[in-house]
C-alpha cells in the first residue's frame, strides 16, 4: 500500500534561500512540495483552504522577517492544527511551531504548564530535539 505523501507548502518570495529549500525538498520521496508561493496576511486563509497542506514552511528572507513572523502567527491562530516551520538566513536553525489545543479548564491549564519541557528558556537557546507533534 502506497503511503500518502506529506503535502508541504513552501511560502517564500522565490529568492535564493527559498529556491535552495525548494531544490532540497523536491528531491524528498514521500513529500509533495506545494509552491513556492507568496502569501500575504490579506489572502493566506483562502490559499491555505484551497491548498490544504499538511505543513507550511515560512521562509524569512531577511528584509521581510517581520512579515514572516506575522504570517506565522496568523496561520497558527487560524489553523491551530497546522504545523508551521520557520526558516531564515539570519539564524542557522529552523523553528517548528504547532498549537496544542486543550479544553479551557483550570486542571488542563495547570497540567499543561507542569508538563512543559524542562530547561531555562532565557538562557542562550540551542537547537534541541524536544519537538513533539
Amino acid at each position: 500500500m502506497q503511503l500518502e505523501k506529506r503535502r508541504v507548502l513552501l511560502v517564500c518570495s522565490q529568492r535564493l534561500f527559498g529556491q535552495s529549500l525548494e531544490t532540497i525538498l523536491r528531491r524528498v520521496e514521500g513529500m509533495e512540495l506545494l509552491g513556492p508561493v507568496e502569501l500575504a496576511l490579506e489572502n493566506f486563509e483562502a490559499r491555505l483552504l484551497e491548498l490544504r497542506p499538511d505543513a507550511v514552511i515560512v521562509v524569512d528572507e531577511g528584509e521581510h522577517s517581520l512579515r514572516a513572523s506575522l504570517l506565522t502567527a496568523a496561520i497558527l491562530q487560524q489553523f491551530p492544527s497546522l504545523p508551521v516551520i520557520s526558516a531564515g538566513l539570519e539564524q542557522h536553525t529552523f523553528r517548528v511551531y504547532s498549537a496544542h489545543i486543550l479544553p479551557a479548564r483550570s486542571s488542563d491549564l495547570v497540567e499543561a504548564i507542569l508538563n512543559l519541557p524542562p530547561g531555562a528558556p532565557w538562557e542562550a537557546s540551542q537547537p534541541t530535539s524536544h519537538y513533539k507533534s
Binding site: 522565490q14 529568492r15 535564493l16 534561500f17 529556491q19 535552495s20 529549500l21 525548494e22 531544490t23 532540497i24 528531491r27 528572507e61 531577511g62 528584509e63 526558516a87 538566513l89 539570519e90 542557522h92 529552523f94
Partner: protein, 220 residues
C-alpha cells in the same frame, strides 16, 4: 563540454545544500566541494583548485574576506564571488580589494546569480547596478583625494608580449611548465624563457608576484 568547477563556502548548511543543488543542475558547472568556514575554504581551494568559489562573508573563525585574500594570493586565477546577506559598503569594498570578482546579496534570484557568476568567470564584475554605483563613487572619492600619480623617471612602461601574457595567464592557474607548453604548443624550454622574461620585465622573483603585479598594472 568541460564544466566549471565550483567550491561553495557558507556556514549556513541549509543554504549551502540547496545552492549545491542549483549549481549541480547547471550543464556548465559542477560542485567539487563545500566548506563551512574560511579556513576550510582555503585548504579546500588549495586541494581542489576550483574555477569558481561562491563565498559567504560572515563566517566563524576566518571570515570570507580574509579567506578570499589568502586564496587569491595562492591561486590568483581563481574567480571568487561573495554571496552575503550584508548590504554593507565597507564589506563590499574590502572584498573587492581582497580580490573578489563580485559581491552579491542573497536576496537575488538564482537565475540572476547564475548569469552574474558566469559573467565573473569571463572576467566581468558580478555586481548589481546599485553596488557598481557605490564602487564607482568610492573610486571617484579616492581620485579626488589622491594626487595624480607620477611615474619615477627610471620606471619603464612594462610591455609583455602576447605570448608572455598567454604564458602568465595559464601559469596563474597553477599550471606546470609542461602543462603550459602543451596548452600553447611550445617547448618547455620556450616556456622557461618566457617566464624569465616576465619575471625580469616585472621586476619580481616568483610567478605569484608576477601575476599580482600584472593584474595591478592592468596587464591581465
Amino acid at each position: 563540454m568541460s564544466r566549471h568547477r565550483v567550491l561553495l563556502v557558507d556556514d549556513h548548511a541549509l543554504l549551502r545544500e540547496g545552492l549545491a543543488g542549483i549549481i549541480a543542475a547547471q550543464p556548465d558547472m559542477e560542485v567539487v566541494g563545500e566548506a563551512s568556514d574560511g579556513l576550510e575554504a582555503v585548504v579546500m581551494a588549495q586541494q581542489l583548485k576550483p574555477d569558481l568559489i561562491l563565498m559567504d562573508v560572515q563566517m566563524p573563525g576566518l571570515d570570507g574576506i580574509e579567506a578570499t585574500r589568502q586564496i587569491r594570493d595562492e591561486l590568483p586565477g581563481t574567480t571568487i564571488v561573495m554571496l552575503t546577506v550584508r548590504d554593507d559598503d565597507e564589506k563590499l569594498l574590502a572584498a573587492l580589494k581582497a580580490g573578489a570578482q563580485g559581491y552579491l546579496l542573497k536576496d537575488i534570484h538564482s537565475r540572476d546569480m547564475l548569469a552574474l557568476v558566469r559573467g565573473a568567470l569571463r572576467g566581468e564584475a558580478a555586481l548589481s547596478p546599485r553596488m557598481a554605483g557605490r564602487v564607482l563613487a568610492e573610486f571617484q572619492r579616492m581620485s579626488a583625494r589622491a594626487p595624480a600619480p607620477c611615474l619615477p623617471d627610471d620606471e619603464e612602461l612594462v610591455d609583455l608580449t602576447r605570448r608572455e601574457l598567454e604564458t602568465l595567464t595559464i601559469a596563474m592557474r597553477g599550471a606546470s611548465d609542461k602543462e603550459i607548453a602543451e596548452a600553447l604548443c611550445i617547448s618547455i624550454h620556450t616556456v622557461k624563457s618566457h617566464m624569465r622574461n616576465i619575471l625580469s620585465k616585472l621586476h619580481v622573483n616568483t610567478r605569484r608576484e608576477a601575476a599580482r603585479v600584472a593584474r595591478s598594472r592592468g596587464l591581465l
